[in-house]
């Protein structure tokens, strides 16, 4: 069952309080981010739960969650590599980096490694054009990517995951 912890509920209340009385729908995007942080992705149960928290219809949540590119509507790997491929990154060599990651992880774009560790996605401009090629991993950006740097990132992820288990 989907249910936020008391700590997350307090956060939800704080977010709702940012907006005028009766405009709690405005909290939808931040609360969806919060839900994704907790559950990793947004199942329809999670979205229905968010709808109930904000007293809106479930369809209003689906409409929003499917519009924005950051909400995962399917489970994803523990680490998601979102590599930018738009113009400025492309002219700085993003294609080669994407190919390298594909080969390194043995997966295609949009796929997850069988062990559930990595998902590879290509995305459009992330606003780090001066530090290209780059990708987003979780909350942070990994910039000036080279094959060596990609190797290091993958290794760090594996190490971190090992420690967590």
């Amino acid at each position: 069952m989907v249910q936020f912890s008391e700590e997350k509920m307090a956060k939800v209340r704080e977010i709702i309080a940012r907006y005028p009385e009766g405009k709690q729908k405005s909290a939808l995007l931040p609360v969806l981010h919060l839900a994704q942080e907790v559950y990793g992705w947004l199942s329809s149960e999670t979205m229905d739960y968010v709808a109930s928290l904000l007293q809106i219809e479930p369809i209003e949540v689906y409409e929003v969650a499917t519009f924005y590119s950051m909400y995962n509507l399917k489970p994803v790997g523990k680490y998601m590599f979102e590599v930018c491929q738009t113009g400025p990154c492309m002219i700085s060599g993003s294609d080669a980096i994407i190919d390298y990651i594909k080969q390194r992880l043995g997966i295609g774009v949009g796929e997850t490694t069988p062990d559930g560790m990595f998902t590879l996605k290509t995305v459009e401009c992330l606003g780090a054009c001066g530090y290209a090629p780059m990708m987003q991993m979780g909350k942070h950006y990994k910039e000036h990517l080279t094959p060596e740097k990609v190797d290091q990132i993958i290794e760090d992820c594996r190490k971190q995951a090992g420690q967590l288990n």
């Binding site: 405005s26 995007l29 409409e63 929003v64 924005y68 590119s69 492309m90 992330l126 054009c129 001066g130």
Partner: protein, 450 residues
């Protein structure tokens, strides 16, 4: 060294913290505005400064403020547009990441001028770590009496909230941003009514870019007239340029708008020349939406005059031979780059980011992307080039919001200036996948290398 108004203190150790920012003269402008000036006097200074919106459209900020409706009993809001998503643009990120208090101070002064007691920063969702920085700064400002109730004993109340977007370029369009702030899909609204009359929650709203609002701080410090003396013509003050692509020193630079494009590209103070000793082929000077220019038209106008880094000079010649200042996203392409492929990735971007509300943009962007992909991969036909031209022409100006224009212009400019490169792709279907077309006749007229 040019004048630095925004980034002057960016390198000061610890400038992110309130103590250091304050010690370096921070919140002096806020104090001056709130204690010694009436709200309308603040607006008046911004008008006098000639500050133009730094988000891309370049609309005079003071004029925008003066349009704000002020009906009795209805709250008004200032919304800071931090949804920086225009390919090539990453200046607002730099400001927020390194000088959060500069933005907070600018927001405070502007909120005071506009009478906004609840001000929102709408930041693109991908900048996921920046809200923490901003919220920390907001907390510090509040703890020191710069936000909250009865600020400096003036009776003015102001809270600033940060909202993360969910990943959508279109939310940089102000009415889409407002919809998103209301927890809806980022569909731009049909105007009128304009946000100044009916914005967020149907209340009068002003939406300004991060850099615009930060610039209010030096304007109040030095006075609008002094600010207007920097720069040239209607390009007053300083502008942040985010430079990227095939240059030696990509990054964010503050320029006063009197330097030439040539100096900006080749001087060590700025881009430091083209990477790996290559030659300049083309440049998109103001973010991906503005027309791409071949080197010869970039460095000199069609009249043969030096082109400068300001609003007027960059658009000299109109779209036929000029471009735009836009958001200041300066994308440089060297001789190894393929204009067709670059245009294709941009078309793909606009197709991906179209909200899908109106038919020319929803259908036209995808069509252009497919044709460009064909041409880029050697499957194009000669007639495709004219077809592309006709599609972009039918999108431009006919859509609800400027995304249609933004998708059309790069395609139009690429065909206008690099038609031979498109034709070469069609005529050499095998070769074009393995080799670049090269420089042809539009290389930089300068013999400057590296």
């Amino acid at each position: 060294m040019g004048v630095k108004l925004l980034l002057e203190k960016a390198q000061v150790e610890g400038i992110r913290s309130y103590e250091v920012y304050r010690r370096e003269g921070g919140y002096r402008a806020a104090e001056k505005a709130l204690k010694t000036m009436a709200p309308d006097a603040v607006t008046e200074e911004v008008k006098k400064s000639g500050l133009r919106g730094r988000g891309g459209a370049g609309f005079p900020a003071g004029m925008k403020w003066s349009f704000l409706a002020k009906p009795e009993g209805i709250p008004r809001h200032l919304v800071c547009n931090a949804d920086e998503s225009e390919p090539g643009t990453f200046k607002d990120r730099y400001l927020m990441e390194f000088l959060p208090h500069l933005l907070i101070e600018g927001l405070l002064i502007s909120s005071y001028a506009l009478g906004s007691n609840a001000t929102y920063i709408y930041i693109r969702g991908e900048y996921a770590w920046i809200p923490d920085i901003l919220e920390q700064a907001i907390g510090e400002a509040k703890a020191n009496g710069w936000l909250g109730k009865n600020i400096l004993g003036t009776g003015f109340d102001c809270e600033i909230y940060v909202q993360r977007g969910g990943g959508a370029y279109i939310c940089g369009e102000e009415t889409a941003l407002i919809e998103s702030l209301e927890g809806k899909r980022g569909n731009p609204r049909i105007k009128p009514p304009f946000p100044a009359v009916k914005g967020v929650w149907d209340r009068p709203t002003v939406v300004n870019n991060v850099e615009t609002l930060a610039a209010v701080v030096p304007i109040i410090n030095m006075g609008g007239d002094e600010y207007a003396k920097i720069g040239v013509g209607r390009s007053t003050g300083t502008k942040l340029i985010s430079a990227c692509g095939n240059i030696n020193k990509p990054g964010v630079f503050e320029i006063d708008m009197t330097i030439s494009v040539e100096e900006f590209i080749y001087s060590d103070e700025y881009c430091g020349g083209i990477k790996n000793g290559k030659r300049l082929k083309a440049c998109i000077p103001g973010g991906s939406s503005v027309p791409i220019l071949p080197a010869n038209l970039l460095l000199k106008t069609a009249k043969g005059e030096t082109r400068y880094m300001n609003y007027e000079s960059l658009s000299d010649g109109g779209f036929a031979t000029g471009s735009m200042m836009g958001s200041g996203g300066f994308i440089v392409l060297d001789e190894d780059q393929c204009v067709v492929k670059n245009t294709y990735t941009l078309a793909r971007f606009y197709r991906h980011e179209s909200c899908g509300q109106c038919s020319p943009c929803r259908e036209g962007t995808g069509w252009m992307e497919k044709i460009l992909k064909n041409i880029d991969s050697g499957k194009g036909k000669m007639s495709d080039i004219d077809l592309l031209w006709d599609i972009q022409r039918k999108i431009e100006g006919n859509t609800i919001c400027p995304l249609g224009d933004a998708a059309a212009w790069p395609v139009a400019a690429a065909i206008r200036h690099f038609r031979d490169e498109f034709e070469w792709h069609v005529k050499n279907p095998q070769e074009c996948v393995t080799r670049n077309y090269g420089l042809a006749h539009y290389a930089d007229p300068l013999e400057v290398v590296g």
